[in-house]
Symmetry: D2
Subunit: 364 residues, 4 copies
């Protein structure tokens, strides 16, 4: 008897753990015996390409991939099927809705179901496709941990670990030179990576998108730290942090005034212009945070997600996304999954933890 066919796609920015999800799906399907698994290359672009780029994923193909960063079926931020970029003859780019074509192709190729691994944007696509009749299940993915429907996702803990390892290194050189060290980490809208890194590393200042900081306060914290004799300061700043109410440091199209080099450098130069005389140095982790082998926790969570997602497919529970809530792997509806964000809120216990151990957020 021929097996049922399952299609897997990974969308949005890559994340340590994606391969562990894929492997768990393939191994679960293999053990189940009734399904075989395929991957669409570069999110759903693989389906929409002519000819389609679809690869068979069997046990041999996924052997050992759970220890590797990235995704073996590649990913992209450019390819929303609801708003697909098409190059026109005159060179311009037009965006059109290819969702019907996508669903049609998926079914025509013989697929019974789809597992879509991706962040908020990807799961909104999942929901739209489900509403249009596609048998789809979601697996959450966000390096920033900004999805409200799951306590944690894979990749986030790895990013925090990488940032913390880097922070630890900066501390020794900061203290030897009596310097101010700025570590710029990811987090455009949610400051979880910065918050966790600042607590884990033991920073003096943590600057996150949710809490606009004041340059004057930063300068004061720095000076008081030198005055009390400690003689060095470590700052963790999220890339989306806002200084005196403005976003700084990111290069936006059409905005020539924004300094190049990111928010970390912007803060350095602002502090120097403000009159801080101490040496200031900046490190920008960039994509180092989202690469490399996932830490054990993320491999386990990703494996559990993959297994659970396959079970949802096996049981025909489409329109859902797996999640991790209250120390359990479970699932929720795609509708719920995409209804709100998970920002750092003032009453979060980690904010209290942070303040109690002397961390400042740069507010007044």
């Amino acid at each position: 008897m021929s097996k049922k066919k399952l299609l897997v796609a990974t969308g949005g920015g890559d994340c340590p753990g994606l391969n562990a999800v894929i492997r768990a799906i393939v191994k679960s399907a293999d053990r189940n015996g009734e399904w075989e698994v395929y991957g669409s290359m570069e999110a759903f672009n693989g389906v929409l390409e002519d000819p389609p780029e679809i690869v068979h994923l069997d046990n041999d193909r996924v052997q050992g991939i759970h220890v590797k960063g990235g995704t073996i079926i590649k990913t992209t931020n450019k390819g929303n099927p609801l708003n697909y970029p098409i190059q026109k003859e005159n060179g311009e780019t037009e965006h059109i809705d290819l969702s019907d074509k996508l669903i049609e192709r998926i079914y025509n190729m013989g697929f019974e179901a789809v597992i879509n691994i991706g962040g908020d944007g990807s799961q909104k696509i999942s929901k739209a496709l489900f509403d249009k009749g596609l048998n789809i299940v979601g697996v959450p993915k966000t390096i920033d941990n900004d999805l409200s429907s799951t306590d944690l996702t894979f990749g986030f803990s790895t990013a925090v670990q990488i940032a913390t390892d880097s922070f630890d290194k900066l501390v020794t050189t900061a203290s030897s030179h009596n310097r101010v060290m700025i570590l710029e980490v990811m987090g455009r809208n949610a400051g979880w990576i910065a918050l966790h890194t600042a607590i884990a590393g033991g920073a003096e200042l943590c600057l996150i998108p949710e809490v606009p900081f004041k340059l004057e306060t930063i300068a004061n914290v720095i000076e008081s730290r030198y005055d009390e004799g400690t003689g060095f300061v470590n700052i963790v700043i999220a890339e989306g942090a806002q200084m005196d109410g403005k976003l700084v440091g990111r290069k936006e199209e059409g905005d020539e005034n924004i300094k190049l080099g990111g928010v970390g450098n912007a803060l350095r130069f602002a502090l120097e212009d403000y009159g801080v005389k101490h040496d200031i140095r900046v490190a920008v982790l960039g994509h180092i945070q989202r690469g490399g082998s996932p830490i054990a926790f993320d491999r386990i969570l990703a494996s559990a997600f993959g297994v659970r997602a396959f079970e949802l497919v096996r049981d025909g529970k489409y329109g859902h996304m797996v999640n991790y809530k209250n120390n359990l792997v479970s699932y929720t509806t795609l509708a719920d999954a995409t209804s709100s964000y998970n920002f750092v809120e003032v009453n979060n216990y980690l904010i209290n933890t942070a303040k109690s151990i002397g961390l400042s957020f740069g507010v007044k």
Copy 2:
């Protein structure tokens, strides 16, 4: 006005994160302003020594210690004040109850409250002392994650990470030589470290105390793996795993029959005696698992525990232990905290995850 005095002790086996708890208590107390913190060296032995060994813990003393393994106030497994070992003149050891003397000394030294950081044994002591009138708060500590009243404790994730890193290294040499590799990890009664490591690493076999394994099954799994052509096998075994219903490999007093060198070696020799012809190699992580810098997650959890424990003291909520439940740091009574264990149970979702990705527990 003089400050209130708080005593901190760490008991039982050491654990990455202990120093982060201590630092968080000291920093919280400093920020609060009404308390000052002291440490009893080697659990409560520091109080019972003549003269007592008590050290002052201020901000300077705890600077940067959260990144270090171990505990700056030392710890011991030998010194239960309810059953204290006293060397008699004839050389024999007598055990007597020194709890009244302990409490009296603590109050006589001017301490208003105690935070006791330790595992199940330590918290049973906390409860007994609380019942006798001591103002005490507990912080859970267990490398094995075997406390039922908290979803996770610090140190466990670090141990899993260290074991997983070692596992990853064994895989490359196993596959190059077509060998069977046995990695022995901690876990006398609870197999959580082994289970997490086996999933994270991608082992073929995971042998834990809760699930007695059969030698024959292990041999069969090994042979079938070679038959199918993969040509190497990776086994994670907890030190308390039972083979064919018997504990093996640990050196117990008076038991000359038990092989030296641990359960990993015992399994190796049993397999060789059974007739397995493939090369088998053993690595015994031992205390490497509980040493070194805590990973970021454990530093954060330990910091949150320390802050919360101080708040319980500040608010006079004695007789409680902090915990981590449902993604929140909270607290429970010491009575509840010590009423049951957290073993790996058959219906745990990780067991399902493990089986689904092809992991065998060695049961027929």
Copy 3:
């Protein structure tokens, strides 16, 4: 025009960096344009199998392998073509010289030259084959750094790093518990890994094969360390260390008296029997030391070796082995390469370094 064919084999124990050598050979050959490269699976066994197991190695096949431990063409200790084990009908194993058959097959398959990557045993085979007329070049490989004709080989520095990382972890738990920690590392005949690890970690005792130690001295060093108040001791012991003139702890065939579990456990029990009362714990790294991704230094050295080995083939300089001497990658004759060993000698500057920073070798 058809390309010349080059055969590569890896023999003996695996070693981090083998894949980097293979990749460098393949990339060099590709850039040169006149050669194509093949691999014999499991040392020369791949040639001698019926049918032979030979794989084509091109740029695609070696992409990214330099970061991986092990060897993609597998290796073995069993398959010396000069003394090849043949299973007879009666079940016994006979050893016969297959070197003529090996050379004949290599040439019959169209290979013009061979690069043999391996340790002392492998290079003795290289020399014998060269003397019989095979166009062969050697690349040295030894995790123990026991080859006298090269200052360093790849893999050794990775092993030292892994052992040192483990040592660092043991220190924190040793100091928290006032314990004696024994770390058993590789080194059957040469103590380089132990010596480097002991210096890098800051051990109190370093026990190596070249310097037989006295149990009494070990016990005295331990006691004096506790007497002076430091309260913990860290010992690095090579697997081939000799106690009071005897090899201990390795399981040899026919010797029932030797304790199981290795020299580390043997030392522990000997110290306990001797009367040392302090807690003693043992960690046995085993093959963890030779697995995993090579450190940067080993990847670079291995790459340089691979490039140089190909150049020797290209230039027809057969009968040589590449080496690393005086900070340069060069080469020597196979005859010189296999004439003597590199043991730790008393006048080595690292012995002086070790003693000057307080390390004892357990003599006198």
Copy 4:
């Protein structure tokens, strides 16, 4: 009998291994028995301060410091005693020669000899002070490995390892997204860190100060890599790399035209302006490279340097600097030590290695 007093100072940028040198000096002196060791805080500034900042360094003080980055006696780039910055009353800074005062103070405080740990600048100071009569011995220190009188110095290998670990992480995300990744590493004048990292990581492009690169060539290498189907490119660039003959990306005083954010960002924007359409991302390691625990090799080399430096003092061999040449720790005169630099030269065997494995330097 009172002991002879030895003063130690660390100057210039910090470097993993400085503490291991200090510890080895102190331990050697302790074992020798005739010397005691002191440290001058922040290079020689500690001597010149009023009152002087001098700390006693005994065995307790240096216990375990060899595993820590930085320097416990701090360091600075600002405090050349031959050209010492003095703040004048009108706010301006004047530079005057305080070398006579420095030597006088050192002798007046009772010091018999000085060990100066530092780079080229520091050793030029050592030589000048020696010429003026100070009993001084040098220990080389350079993260960039740009000293010609020693094959290697401590810290460099750690920096390469950190950069390589980061590179490895970038590869997985680059390949998942088909991106161009630029990793900016240290190296203002010498490209050794970049060269080693590029070989160890397996980069496609390596841009170093010694080999001015052409933007057009970079763009061509990128395009050809995409054309051949690999779809991602990894670039290592040293901070002092020159594009089309000009230094880019560093903020120099008085030069408003140079883009902020470093050479990595400058290259990115230049490539985008040139017309490269692929996604380009930048990571700037900054001081992460010179922080953290030294790898085993650097701890060992630093320990050997410290021991040898003390021996030179003990033997009265002033005016020399220890070094590492031809796999041995030895010494040279300060005059020789400061006479030339160690740049990457075209005929270095690593350049050949790099080219042979397909690395481009962006020339032609």
